[in-house]
């Protein structure tokens, strides 16, 4: 049995981990997927670990998924939402987290609206940090679960072609996905209106395409991102209807492609904008499998991090 461990104490972004780490996480997630499909879905592995879920930004899927992963591992959990806390009284991030850590917490899962919040915290507090999304920077567990889902569907990621469609500019999912898929040997393309593709993104080694049909004909997997209206400070396209006509994926487009592609979406879906209902609910869509895999992948991440002693 190979004795392996992660090269990092925290999971702050895909940028900081290597291919071996990613493969170890995906392999471990295979085992946890088997666990959560059993009659008794719980293992006692983290029974003496306490995990704080600190969310400075709204979340449904990620928060529930982390919480469920923690419970399935028998960890003790505490939840914290910034909106109902002393943050609104003016407490700083380090103070907030140190107060939580004073209650003997081993691991912190944090979502924050500012890029780099995880990195900052990891330098100033004495706990292991898992980034659950920081601004428009990274969302590593989403990228890992997307990679896990692709691997489960196609067998391997090496050499596969993945297109990420939509609001690349504001998307932490896009950045983490690009880095993760490239580390696993996939080819990545981004597709969207020029206003939503960041300048110089080619320097990451991705292809850029502005025509959705061309992009879809090239790929094996299409990851359709949500238009993040809450992060858009100015108008990036004339109307949602026009965006849907140019970059929305519907059944007709899907059926007219030369090959059958896999459709993914990190959620939450704006039905009728980036993806129509009949595509989201079609058998080519693996959106709900992504959610199921999310729990297994997060269990793997927490288990592997917690297994490292200080």
């Amino acid at each position: 049995m190979a004795e392996e461990k992660l090269s990092t104490r925290h999971l702050l972004g895909i940028k900081d981990i290597n291919r071996n780490d990613i493969e170890l996480i995906l392999q471990t997630a295979d085992n946890f997927k088997a666990v959560i499909n059993r009659p008794i879905k719980k293992v006692p592995a983290l029974r003496d670990i306490t995990i704080a879920n600190i969310f400075f930004e709204n979340s449904t899927r990620t928060k529930l998924s982390f919480e469920l992963a923690e419970k399935r591992l028998s960890a003790d959990t505490i939840n914290f939402a910034a909106s109902s806390s002393s943050v609104s009284k003016g407490e700083t991030l380090i103070d907030t987290v140190n107060n939580i850590l004073a209650m003997k917490v081993d691991l912190v899962v944090m979502r924050h609206p500012y890029a780099g919040a995880g990195q900052f915290l990891s330098r100033h507090v004495n706990a292991q940090i898992v980034n659950a999304g920081d601004g428009a920077h990274e969302h590593p567990t989403q990228a890992l679960l997307d990679a896990f889902s692709i691997r489960q569907k196609l067998g391997d990621i090496e050499g596969k072609k993945v297109v990420i469609v939509g609001d690349i500019l504001h998307s932490r999912v896009a950045i983490s996905n690009i880095l993760c898929l490239q580390k696993l040997g996939a080819e990545v393309m981004v597709c969207g209106p020029t206003t939503l593709i960041p300048k110089h993104i080619e320097s990451l080694g991705v292809k850029v395409e502005h025509n959705l049909i061309k992009a879809l004909n090239w790929c094996d997997v299409a990851n359709m991102l949500r238009i993040q209206l809450e992060r858009q400070d100015i108008k990036y396209f004339p109307s949602q209807r026009e965006y849907a006509m140019m970059y929305g994926l519907n059944k007709q487009i899907l059926d007219n492609l030369d090959k059958e592609i896999i459709v993914m979406h990190p959620g939450p879906i704006n039905r009728g904008v980036e993806i129509t209902s009949d595509v989201a609910d079609s058998k080519q869509s693996i959106i709900l499998e992504q959610v199921e895999n999310g729990v297994a992948v997060r269990m793997a991440v927490l288990y592997l991090l917690a297994s490292q002693r200080d």
């Binding site: 049995m1 190979a2 004795e3 392996e4 461990k5 170890l24 392999q27 471990t28 295979d30 085992n31 088997a34 666990v35 059993r38 009659p39 008794i40 719980k42 293992v43 006692p44 592995a45 983290l46 003496d48 591992l73 288990y303 592997l304 917690a306 297994s307 490292q308 002693r309």
Partner: protein, 182 residues
Amino acid sequence: MQKRTLLDGQKFQITIKRLCHQLIENHNDFSNTVLIGIQPRGSYFADRVQNELSQILKKTTIKKGNLDITFFRDDFRRKDGMLAANANTIDFIIEGMNVILIDDVLWTGRTIRSAMDALLAYGRPARVELMVLIDRRFSRHLPIEPDYIGQQVDSLNSQHVKVSWKETEGEDKVILISESNK
């Protein structure tokens, strides 16, 4: 480093055959009994027992699964290094069945404690028995004793028992290894 051979060659085969006949004595035709090998090394032993039983009973329907105990261990974060998990392959129902837990070496009993917990996540077996090839007696940390024993050995804590299998290491053999400076 000193090595002493505990079991090999014909004696190894005879031991496996004897264990299989003991199992048949208690479980008849295995219609209500399943074999569960503890991952990773108990599963090799379980494979061998399954083959041997199939030959003796002339039937190929003896059920065998592999159980991984990694997430149920009690030494998580208490030792250096992390043990990678193995696959669970139990594609039958254990509810109401007689289960034979199979491992190569029984030492402190902690693995078996974890295995019993891991097993119960699959349902409530009627009865659980334990079979080991080597029993390092007088070294238990927990009140666990095997029902079927290949061979008992007296060993020091500093010694190590290594079981090799024809399928994976090329030879059926059990050796007791002791560091010479101890």
